[in-house]
Symmetry: C2
């Protein structure tokens, strides 16, 4: 095995903090294993001394107890990540995802690596400008339930838009089923929201769901734009995180992207494996160009804790190179009563996603939307 790496490495490194199960020796063994498994994937005792061992193999920068477990900060040469999001994730958690007891807590990239990413096209400020809402939280709802026809969904969208909702999205499960074919639904819902906007003078956006086959994601996004849609909902867990980035960087598109967490749950819900909530729904959504990132709010029908939600919000909005902040969107069983508390916890730069709750107040959807809107306008 040759030991000189060419071209010579820059010396720039990125850091990943891993949570490690086990007692001191076991956890340290996991850390040492990660340094090999995530890079050379080669038996440590067979690796000769030289550039590969000294620069390519991950390096344990810190190792310390954290409650009843341990944390290790491991650094990797920038070049191992190749220059793109896919290989970066491969180094961070590719093979080690298959071994139990290892969880990614945070990732720290040097400016030179952050520069690989364009990030959100609009971000918080851009999305605010699009909907004409400079300060207060945004109000978002979803068209549902699955099984309704396109015309019924469009009528629903019209009522919501008249009631003052800022963002109206397809429910994440409504995609291209026979009861509301994709193009038909997008055309009708876009037209319905445009009609409401003309009547109210508002700037409500309709966002179409893009849980589409790999060869249709980009094509459907372009169709949404041509049909006058206001944005797209992308599920990175289903279509791939880098596919979202591709849409965000598409020069022919100028649509806001809302990331939805479908199928990503197993990455976060098990405390001993996976990746932290803040990294998945905050940092990675942002690197991959989401303008808004949906997460299930604490106290709703999902099981995220308040602290996990706060981490998501922090990662969504903190300074990160030249990347715009991404709008955190709290959903999943939100009710009108919780809005004041939510605003207290998340501040104004948040989207309140009220789905089923919008129907609980009765059949007058415009009136229900108006009721929620009054609540967020008081902020």
């Amino acid at each position: 095995v040759k030991t000189i790496v060419q071209p010579a490495l820059s010396g720039l490194r990125f850091q990943v903090c891993y949570r490690l199960e086990g007692d001191h020796d076991e956890a340290f063994g996991r850390a040492e294993d990660i340094t090999l498994e995530q890079t050379v994937e080669f038996p440590g005792d067979l690796l000769p001394d030289g550039d590969i061992r000294r620069q390519i193999v991950g390096r344990i920068e810190e190792f310390s107890p954290f409650g009843r477990v341990f944390r290790a900060v491991i650094s990797y040469a920038m070049e191992t990540a190749g220059g793109d999001l896919v290989q970066l994730l491969n180094v961070v958690f590719g093979n080690i995802s298959i071994k139990p007891g290892v969880r990614v807590e945070w990732i720290d990239l040097p400016e030179e690596m952050l520069a690989w990413f364009k990030g959100p096209r609009f971000g918080i400020a851009g999305l605010r400008e699009k909907v004409g809402v400079p300060y207060r939280p945004l109000l978002c709802t979803a068209l549902k339930p699955m099984g309704l026809g396109s015309q019924t969904l469009a009528e629903m969208a019209y009522q919501f838009a008249l009631g003052g909702v800022d963002l109206i999205k397809d429910d994440h499960g409504i995609n291209a089923q026979p009861f509301s074919p994709f193009r038909e639904r997008v055309e009708r819902c876009s037209a319905a929201v445009a009609r409401a906007n003309r009547e109210t003078g508002g700037k409500c956006l309709y966002l179409a769901s893009l849980a589409a086959p790999a060869h249709l994601v980009v094509e459907r996004a372009h169709f949404v734009q041509q049909a006058g849609g206001g944005g797209v909902v992308v599920m990175p867990g289903l279509v791939g995180l880098d596919t979202m980035r591709l849409l965000a960087e598409d020069d022919g598109l100028a649509l806001p992207i809302m990331a939805h967490p479908a199928f990503q749950g197993s990455l976060v819900t098990c405390s001993t494996t996976g990746i932290s909530h803040g990294v998945i729904f905050g940092m990675l959504a942002r690197l991959a160009g989401a303008d808004a990132t949906i997460f299930p709010n604490y106290g709703g029908r999902f099981a995220f804790s308040k602290k996990q939600c706060e981490q998501i919000v922090t990662e969504s909005r903190k300074p990160l190179g030249n990347l715009k902040p991404v709008f955190p969107a709290a959903g999943g069983g939100m009710t009108v009563e919780r809005l004041p508390e939510m605003r207290q916890v998340f501040g104004n730069d948040v989207i309140f996603l009220i789905g089923g709750g919008m129907h609980r107040l009765g059949p007058d959807l415009k009136g229900n939307a108006r009721h929620f809107k009054d609540m967020v306008e008081r902020f």
Copy 2:
């Protein structure tokens, strides 16, 4: 909410078996929740009677204790899955992945849904024909460690091919780093293996790794084919499962696909959430067109059990509509001593993936390969 679904549903349904944590009432509550969460995502008490409640909402077909937990078989209308793999996965596990205590054990699709998928282009028989090995297990190795230059990797491939290895793949972490740029490496390794084949009369295949950005996956696959490469390694956890399907169905390609489990670990390693090993590495890899599916063998450096590996092998090879069987490829710390046991457990239709172990016998890679080859030829 209108209650008539149009066009009328076919009545065809698919079934998903979920493992549910909790006592009887808690587990049954989870099952009822799944029927709503995975379809209408609408409060059950607000859903009027009619087609949507009776046909779109999931249906609990069976509910029974399973050891200390429970299992529910839930059926869904075929139409909810829209006609593609992405929306099928969305219904099976989209939102419910975010709730703890729910794991997918198996999925049963009617023939009408299996017909949506072309599956593996080559499968076991086709891959055997390509490498000219009708009966025995295949021998596969990986080019590594990361950091080596293209010429060194190509020389390594040449030695392995001379030694009689059937399949030589890039290590999954070697993609497009500066030390071995993608096109340069693919050209040199393809040429090196072709040269060895000319000398030996063998049919060794070189498979290039495709952990590529979303806009480059298809392009790089075509480049591999043009450069004389023998196949591609695809990581569905990183590039998206449906992207693999896209490659498998690409009319301009005729390359075997080997699926690699990087980044998919969190879907399987936590027993209370995620999806079973057999479904992820067997059934879904097959629906998405993998010709071979890599999994970490039991007793190696990963933590899969013998039973989990057997499930993967079963799901890879059992009858499934018109879909060809996919070659199970056992790797992850395999040694020469374990080959006889492996053959006993997995039979002949298996690929033995020997990576680091190939270097443990000393610096003569051709000799080491020959040693492993002798072992599998004895079968």
